[in-house]
Symmetry: C2
Subunit: 127 residues, 2 copies
Amino acid sequence: MNSTPHITEAESEVMKLLWQKEPLTAVEIISQLKDRMDWSDQTIKTFLNRLHKKQAIRFEKSGRNYLYYPLVTYDEYVKAANRSFLDRMYNGAVGMLFAKFLEEEKLSEGEIEQLQQLLEQKKRDGS
Amino acid sequence: MNSTPHITEAESEVMKLLWQKEPLTAVEIISQLKDRMDWSDQTIKTFLNRLHKKQAIRFEKSGRNYLYYPLVTYDEYVKAANRSFLDRMYNGAVGMLFAKFLEEEKLSEGEIEQLQQLLEQKKRDGS
DNA sequence: TTTTATTGTTTACAACCGTAAACTTAGACT
DNA sequence: AGTCTAAGTTTACGGTTGTAAACAATAAAA
């Protein structure tokens, strides 16, 4: 019903951890992000809080530690971000997007072949 | 040298006009955007001003009217936006991006074939 | 049970963005 | 030349985001 809440870039760093392994305790989240992102623990706590407020995560306390779970899935997140980008930049025209990226980015032989297979399959499945 | 300045979404509406036709007078820009975007002229003036400050456009006055020119090209803009999106969302892995979009979006037979041709060509050109 | 440490909540603050009113200036018209 | 007016400039203001300090609550240790 309600579309996935907007997750900012900084917040997404927290989500990425939870998408990898769920649940995680606050300690785990903070310790993993603290060095990698050079954030103070207060900062990370803010993100946890905001994510909770916007219902992107939930937590339950089991005795002494709190366990965090994602409520928004990685797929929902990527999908929403993709859609939004596609609309903003290409007016929804996927073909355009592909063309532009192909023009700009280099692909390895392997990647190209993989994409060709995907396209073949897509054609077979119709749509 | 210096990377293209960051152009926000609202600002990009102004740029789009200038990328279509250059130069444009303030009157033209304002009148075209006013209805389409439901913005007051003051709002549009703000965008012109901000774009000018960040050197995304320039203007010269010929008599009583000001003529606006883009300084950032459409290609630079798209390229920067693409790069940034690719890095943020896919850690720079184009293959991933393509796969995700293919998975989510429907393509017409025609579009698929067009992409296949692009890939073929890409393969021939190497990289 | 009182203290302490941990972990969640409130408050803060500057930069950025969308939105726009107020101000200023320099030609156009009378 | 004086006034009007169009077009650029300054200021404003609420919401979001990155960043974090201050505060509160609660379980663990003494």
